[in-house]
Amino acid sequence: MDKWPSSNRYSLKAALMINYNPVIPSLCLPFLDLLIEIMSIKEKWLSAWCIKPVGGALVRQEPEYILLALMGSPLKKIMLCSSEKEIFNVEEQVMVQHSVIINNMIEDGSYNHEESKIPLDCVDSKTLKKVIDYCTHHTHHQNDNQEDLEAWDAQFLNVDSNGLYDLLMAANYLEIRNLLDLIYGTIKNMIKGKKIDEIRRIFNIKDHGFTSEEEEQNRKEYPHFY
């Protein structure tokens, strides 16, 4: 398709975006018939993801969306909005598989594919991108062998403690079970043998709340762990 002249691609995009019904500009109709013939696209696929014109304007779609739709089954996308008001388009399948919150929203019908974006006010763009990255990888690579997945996970969590904190809060908010377990495991390994002062630093505990006598007694009892 890259070899097609851009004007053709543009027409194709326009044509595919119009719902296939009897009321179609006659300009597009023959083109559409030809396309169906060439690509053997089933009619139901076209109607499944074709967007109705909204308020007279056609909703923008990314080119790869069209390509994917032509190559395979339709991929519904949903829009997630970060705290910085940046919009991310993600495959619905991917998010539904991983995030309990998003799954519930889609299932109970409160999400309207054509209009809604899911606002995630407590997740910034950088973290949201990472979270989407995780979910997408795990959906597309779910049949990989365990070692490869674990290696990817280890690389994925190779972030500083701020980043880890943000990921944990985001995963907790979105209720992404496997990402949460992964992060818990990482933090658990991080703190297992550490001294008390280091733990306080990692968890940003500025005021431990003990009286000076209590603190002294603690230090006497576990001298090696301070």
Binding site: N162, L168, K188, I199, R200, H208, F210, E221
Partner: protein, 362 residues
């Protein structure tokens, strides 16, 4: 300014801290009580202790399981983390009241050990080795020279711990007698055993597995071994038999919480077999053990069998090669009253107020 706000915001809410702490070993948690007052109250909370125990127990292998043995050289108990490595052990202080007496272990359950103190009039002791808390249980057998056996179990249906003691049997003047003590109600009750044929329990220490306590016993002056089982929920004694006879045996608790028996036959090939009870029927495991006549199996870790051989802890791998390791200086009697497999926990006994001499954080 932004950094300040970030720093303030970057404190993990306690509910998430709990979700991380629940995966840590008990030793770390005891220490982490010193991190902050919040962490102290979180870790000391009995609700957290139960959550921590249940989480570890739900995993395919319980990572908090240890081998505990009473050292004969120093008055202390020592603990080995068999999953991590069988080369090192660490000490756990015995309760002050019994430290210098001859002790034997009658059972273990959910992080508690049942100790018998070999002194006239001494009570039994329910002890959590990692937290140090302990509780006395008055001993029903007046004469300390009477051989007896015991066990500690947990009745899930009423969240109660039961101490079971039995004495007498074939060869003694008395018919076998059984009693159980409920920690919640704080008194002893007799267990009906007339329906069982005369028997003699041959081990001191019971194995607790899936709500039932098990002991090895001999029946009717025969050479045949049987297993006596006490169901904690129904308070009911029964006998379980198994396919082979003769030989020397030991009860094991295997993976997936199944009851197992290691059976060493005294025939020429001196093989040790391991049988597992699954759904009320016995199956033999495909395990080959060399040097069978000296290894007493203890448990499986990571697919390898760990056992004791002449006061040493050894591991037997698939290739049949035994890897020598830690020297355990305790009298390795066949009935194992000096060592026990137990699971570390932060749990405390119901209605426990703390016995005399208990140190709060030891």
């Amino acid at each position: 300014m932004k950094h300040e706000a970030e720093a303030e915001a970057m404190v993990l809410p306690l509910e998430l801290v709990e979700k991380i702490l629940v995966w840590l070993p008990v030793k770390s948690l005891i220490r982490f009580r010193c991190v902050s007052k919040q962490w102290l109250s979180l870790i000391s909370d009995s609700r957290f202790a139960i959550l921590h125990y249940d989480t570890a127990d739900a995993a395919p292998t319980n990572k908090n399981t240890r081998l505990l043995y009473l050292s004969s050289e120093v008055p202390e108990a020592r603990c080995v983390d068999l999953e991590a490595s069988i080369h090192g052990d660490y000490a756990l202080q015995l309760p002050l009241s019994c430290r210098h007496f001859c002790l034997s272990i009658l059972g273990s359950c959910r992080g508690f050990i049942l100790l018998r103190i070999h002194v006239h009039g001494a009570p039994l002791l329910l002890w959590n080795p990692v937290t140090g808390s302990h509780r006395s249980v008055p001993y029903p057998v007046a004469d300390p020279d009477v051989p007896c056996w015991g066990g500690l179990g947990y009745d899930e249906s009423c969240d109660d711990y039961l101490v079971v003691v039995g004495w007498g049997g074939i060869g003694h003047k008395w018919k076998p007698q059984w009693e159980y003590f409920s920690v919640r109600t704080n008194f002893w009750k007799e267990i009906e055993c007339g329906h069982l044929p005369p028997h003699l329990v041959t081990v001191d220490c019971a194995l607790f597995c899936n709500g039932v306590l098990y002991w090895l016993a001999v029946k009717d002056m025969e050479v045949n071994f049987v297993i006596v089982a006490f169901d904690l929920a129904g308070k009911h004694l029964s006998m379980v038999s198994f396919p082979t006879s003769g030989g020397s045996r030991r009860l094991l608790k295997l993976f997936a919480g199944c009851l197992g028996i290691s059976y060493l036959n005294f025939t020429e090939d001196q093989k040790t077999e391991i049988w597992v009870m699954k759904e009320l029927s016995w199956t033999r495991l495909n395990v080959v053990l060399p040097y069978a006549h000296v290894i007493h199996p203890l448990c499986f870790t990571k697919g390898e069998l760990v056992g004791t051989k002449n006061n040493e802890l050894v591991k037997v791998s698939d290739k049949g090669v035994s890897v020598k390791s830690l020297r355990i200086s305790c009298r390795d009697r066949d009935n194992d009253s000096k060592m026990v497999m137990f699971t570390e926990s932060l749990l405390s006994l119901p209605d426990e107020f703390g016995g005399t001499g208990e140190e709060q954080r030891k």
